[in-house]
Every structure is written in C-alpha cells, then in structure tokens.
Point group: C2
Chain length 425, copies 2
C-alpha cells in the first residue's frame, strides 16, 4: 500500500478540520483508496493547540525548513491564509519537490502564476479546490468535467458571511449593523469584517473562477467591487414585494465585446435557483455553450466542509499519475489582448424619494428616457419614515447611462434624492 | 500536439450532440487543451443521418470490427443505449485497447463489473459521467472531489421526464395522463414511457450512484421502486397547502443498520433545495460526514448537456496519465456482507376518505397509534369530488407499520378508503 506523508501548515479552523478528517479516516482511506495517509508534520507555534488536537509532540515543528527536508512528507497543505509567510513556505515546499494543496484564495489569486511556474519547474502538483467556495467542488468541475464548454457566464454567491447577513436581514427585518454584530459574536464574521462585507473575499474567488472559465488571467484588480454595507431593510422589503431576493453576487460574463467581472449586491428573481441559497450556504451557477446551466451548492466555509475539499485534493494527488496545470496561460497581468467591459449592461432597481406633487413621476421617467433607459416596472410607495417614493425597475441598460440619469434626477425639483441604486439580474 | 481519435457508436440525440460539440470546438480544444480531437469513425446504419450532421462519408462504418482495427481510434464513445449490441461493442473496443466513454446507464448498471474488468485487463480507461444525470458532474465529484467523505445519504431528482410531468401537474393542475400525452408530443417522454414513469431509469442511475457513495455494489434489483402514474392532482394540491412539493426522489441512505435504496414519489418541504428543481432540470443532493450537504443541479438530459459530459470524459481521458477504476470491489452481485434495509423508516402523507360521522378521526388516529405511528399534522378537507377527507402527515415510522395501519383503517366502519399513501422527507 502506498504511504502518503502530509504536512499541515497552520492548525486554525481549516487546518484543524483537515487534521481531524485525516486522522479519523486513516483506516477508511486504506480500505477505499488503497493509500495510507499519515500526517508527518504540523507547523504550528501554539504547541498546546496541536497537542489538544491529538498531534504527537515529535511531529510539531516551528521551522518550515524541517518540513522541506523531511523525506516522509510528500504533500504540504497550506491553510495559513494571507500572503506572507504562506507564499514563501509554499514556494519552498514546491522547490523541495513536495506537492502543495492550498485553501488560500488571496495567495492563489495574487500569486497563482508564480506558484504554478514553480510547481511545473519541480514537477509537483498544485491543488486549490479549497480556495474557492469551501466544500463545493467547483474547481475540478471546471477543470475536469465542464472543460469542453465555452463558458458564457458564471454567477455565484461565494461569500458565506454576507449571505448570512443578507438572509437574516431579509427574514427577520433586523438592520445591517445589528446582524453584523450578531454574526461577529457567532464567529461568522471577523472583528474587522471589511474583506467579507466589502466584497474583497468574493473578488479573490471570482478572479480565480473567472480566469478558469474564460481561460485567461483575470486579475482581481479588474473586478468592479461594491459591498453590502449600504443595503437597507426598506430596499429588501420593496424588492421582495416585486419578487426579488437580495444577494451579493459575483458575476463574470464573456460576451462578444469582452469580459465583465463584478461583485455587488443584486436583486435576483425569487424563482432563480440562486435566490434560494440562504444563510451561510454558497452556490456557483455557470452557463456553458453545451452544458447549459449548472449549479453547485453547498457549504462555502467551515472546518470540515473546507477540510473535505483539501482531503479530496490530497487523495487526488496521491492516486493520480502526473500533474496538470492551468489550461490557460497563467500570468501575473491580464493578456493585453483581453478586453474588459467596464460600462456593462444591467437592469436596475432605483428608489427615488420625491415630494407628493403632480408631475414628478413623469419628470423622472422622462429623464430616464432621455438617457435611453426604459422602465419595466414602477410602484409608488408611501411609508412613514421615507415619505413618498418611486420604486423603479429598469430594463437592461448601460452602467454609465444610469449614473448620468441619477445625477439628473437628483437635480430635479420635486425630487429629494435617489436613495438607492441596486443592480438586478 | 497530441492527436486524439474518437469513434462514436450511434448518432442519435446524444451521439449527434457529441459530434456537433467535437466538430465545432476542434480549434478551441487545440488552443485550450493542447489536443486535436478528431472524429475518425461513426457507427451508424442511417448513412444519410450521419452525412446530414456533416460526417465525411468515408468515416461512416457499419461494422464494429472496422473501428476496433482502426489504429487512428483511441477512444470509443458508446451512446447507443440498451444492452445489446452495446455491450458486445464496448467489450470488443476495450479488448482492442481503446478507452471507452459511455452514456449507457442500463449497461453500466447491469454489467459495469464486466466492463471494468475488461478495461483493467487491457489497461484502458472506462468513463461514464454521462450515464447519470446528463450534464450534472456528479460522477467525478464523487470520485475526485468528495472521495474523502463517508456518505450518509444521497437524494436525487434524476429523471427529467417525471420531473417535467410532476412540475406541470403542480403548476398547471393538468392531470397525469394529459401531461404525459403532451410530454410525448414534445419528445420529453417516449412512446412507451414505462422506463421513466415507473422509475426504472432512476433506479439504474441510483444503483450506479449509490454504489459509488457507499463503496459497495448495489444492484438495481435491491432498489425499492414505485412510479408516478398514481399521483393525483388532489394529492399535489393538499400537499402544497401543507408546504410540500411532490418529486420522484431516488434515495440512498447508509445508516448503522444497513443500506436502503428506493425510488418513489415523495413530498418534500418546499424550502428544501430539491423542492425548487423544476421542469426537466435534475439535481443530486449528497450528505457526507465532512462536506455536509452538497447539491449539483443542471440539465439531466438533452443532446448538448449530455454531450458536454461525454466530451468532458474524452478530454479527461486524453489529458490525464493512467486510468483509475472503481474505488470499491465492482462485482455482479452485492457483497454478502452488505445489509439492505427493506423495512425502512419514513414519514408519510395519508389521504383517508371518510364518512361525515362523529368519531371517525379518533378511530383513524387510534389505529395509527396502535401501530406505533405518531401523527405530526391532520387536516380535514371537504371537496365536491371526494367528500370528506383526512389528510394526515405522520412522524417517521416503519414501512411495515404503515402497511398494517392502512389495512386496519380500510377495514374500519365510517372509512371509505385510504386513497393515497405517499412518503414524506
């Protein structure tokens, strides 16, 4: 039976989950996969943490060099997060001839080109299923199942924290700041929630996934990004009445005119499969020219679901011959031939606070018309707090036209302000 | 660049879709996969059909031996369906050293052990992603992504015809026979719909998928099977009122006491992700000990979605080294050590037609109680056609207890009959 030695860098949530899965399933993998997976080392400064998890003291190390020089280690699992020292450690593991399994989306998003180059040079494997959407098997689905497709679009709910917050706000009517505090208490949101709530985390993942879909490097810096901190319960409720759910969507599209990539709060029809992805569940919805629509749904985070993705990569690495790398030129910057669409098309939800005067609605709609924006639906709402409001859903229109129309509407007599502008798919 | 020669056996719906994808994407696969995939032969008696699709006449053959002896053919795609001649052709291809990609669920379900043995002997690949759930990448997800999990259960909507019929009945109130006729007209159901509507097709797929999940051969003959032809619009409507959708579910569970496998119409809570899988869409929902819940959703049939799965296997076969086989002992019969649970546990929906007399409800519930069945919900309904009815949802109970209770209730004064018995998850 083949023996497979693993070293785990960092025993945090995901590292701990991975250790638990590997140690509890050792006999199961012998029986079902014909391999004996043994954790040979863990890199963890908090020695007591490792011992608590059941790691033999002799296997706990402080120095990456020990792991690189340990001939019993075949695969290094990097679950530290962040750029340094993770990057230096991964490069040194690859240069020592170890294959690497990582859950580090920021590292793979920003330096995937360099890691892959080093992996190729050393004829090592580089696996990153756990970097995107936890236990949801989207990476290998794109590489090994749907790879015959020309992808038209990818849309995902790929951040658990924001989906938890938006679901709670929608179901319970609590405010953004209330739910955020609760999420922080429960450990679903970090003390500094910026990376999640402002869409950085989703943008890293979208960069990785859309690069794979569209087979060209899409740096995260090309991704339009807007967070959820300005979403109000009023908007959620008005959207609900019109048949929409609010989600932080990561969207990539490849149209004839170029690639558009964006992360922003979005109203989505309540019948759409993504609209029913709630709480901390995640899902990715891809459309290919032959497979049509496929959605993969599951836990986007957590010790065991993300550990499942890591262990899947470890077993894959141990039971397959040879290594495959990206099926596109994995570079630092986008290929100069790649066109990015910034003035993208979308339908919009606008909430306009107005005075109760004859003719205001017609002024507003004529300003939209002036910018070529046609209206799909208008509802007048009057609530105690906000007074009279026009809720408008537009047909698909250009981003820039909406910006200009909003400026014009804000400057119109009888209009208090355009309180909300939310994209609609 | 590696050249990959393909032969397609049968240019029906799926064969035609596969040919179309391969021929239209040849340059794309050169660019993105670094392989040149060429259709070298098609086996098709209707020569004009092949020519219409654009196949060069010289490549159309009538005789499998020509394909086996063609050194340009590396991979044989079997999309004929049925057992013979498909089985003989697949075995001869493998014995000639060709790898095989098949969409044939009946063949793989019944003779997978023999095909795999022959593939191993000849060191050939055997791929069958397209045999289950069309474009939905469930097979490789189980093999290469979620393989680190001990699976607790698999539940799927894995037959498009029945899901189309049940969705139409639910949304439009049309009867089973009306919708079936319409589905036959549209080509969604076959002239003899037995295999779909009586659950045979779903049972073949469940046999394949549950064998993979539970890592032991589960012959389709072990699967309890019940079709949808007795489902009435009344039951659909009463279920809807109580918050349930009706689906033909394929269910596999591995509990401490054994494996249970079954295909039957099922009421499922309308919030469950599977309840929102409509029309001809399919989905598979698996629960593993570390990944928790994962659902894969997409087109379960159709020329291009199923073609996508076949082409995915072709590219996988051409771009990976070595071949892996089942991660369990693939045998003809179940391992004698495998225990199958026949008297399984489930909640139930019962519709009891009763006379409008005092005390009938209490008689019925006391008979349920006598058999250890506890009631979760009772509603009295009175409609013009059926008269007074008791709609009962039970807690989880044993199959055999329900059978006995139904016999007792049918024999009770004041009860016309138990009109429907439908399982609930």
């Amino acid at each position: 039976m083949k023996k497979v030695g693993v070293a785990i860098l960092g025993l945090g949530i995901v590292g701990g989950g991975t250790y638990k899965i590997l140690s509890e399933h050792r006999e199961f993998y012998k029986k079902t996969q014909n391999i004996d997976v043994v954790v040979e080392n863990v890199l963890e400064r908090r020695k007591e943490r490792a011992i608590e998890l059941g790691v033999e003291p002799s296997k706990i190390v402080n120095d990456m060099a020990e792991i690189c020089s340990n001939p019993e280690v075949d695969i290094v699992v990097e679950v530290m997060g962040g750029i340094e020292p993770a990057k230096t450690f991964v490069l040194s593991a690859l240069n020592a001839g170890k294959s690497v399994v990582t859950s580090n989306k920021e590292l793979y998003c920003k330096f995937g080109h360099e890691l892959e180059k080093t992996a190729k040079k050393n004829n090592c494997g580089l696996f990153y299923e756990a970097s995107c959407v936890g236990g949801v098997p989207i990476i290998r689905a794109l590489l090994d199942n749907l790879q015959g497709n020309v992808f038209l679009s990818i849309m995902g709910i790929i951040n658990g924290t924001t989906n938890y917050i938006l679901t709670k706000m929608s179901n319970e009517g609590s405010s953004y700041s209330e739910v955020l505090k609760e999420a922080q208490k429960l450990g679903y949101a970090e003390a500094d929630p910026t990376s999640d709530v402002e869409g950085y985390d989703a943008a890293y993942k979208l960069s990785i996934l859309s690069s794979m879909c569209f087979r060209t490097k899409i740096p995260y810096t090309e991704i339009y990004r807007e967070g959820i901190s300005r979403i109000s319960n009023d908007d959620i409720n008005y959207g609900k009445k019109l048949g929409y759910a609010i989600k932080l969507l990561a969207i990539g599209k490849n149209s004839g005119s170029g690639i558009e990539v964006r992360v922003h709060p979005t109203f989505i029809k309540s019948e759409h499969p993504l609209a029913n992805v709630n709480d901390s569940y995640n899902a990715v919805y891809v459309t290919g020219d032959s497979v049509e629509d496929v959605m993969l749904y599951g836990r986007g985070a957590g010790a065991l679901p993300t550990g499942s993705a890591i262990v899947g990569d470890i077993i894959y690495c141990a039971t397959h011959q040879g290594f495959n790398y990206s099926t596109f030129k994995n570079t630092e910057f986008a290929d100069p031939a790649t066109k990015f669409v910034k003035n993208f098309e979308s339908a919009y939800y606008l909430r306009v606070c107005v005075e109760d005067k004859v003719g205001v609605l017609s002024k507003v709609t004529s300003l939209l018309g002036k910018h070529g924006i046609s209206v799909a639906q208008v509802v007048q709402e009057n609530d105690g707090t906000n007074g009279l409001q026009l809720i408008i859903i537009t047909h698909e229109t250009k981003e820039n036209s909406v910006k200009k129309a909003v400026d014009d509407i804000n400057a119109t007599a009888g209009v208090a302000n355009v309180a909300s502008v939310i994209r609609v798919v």
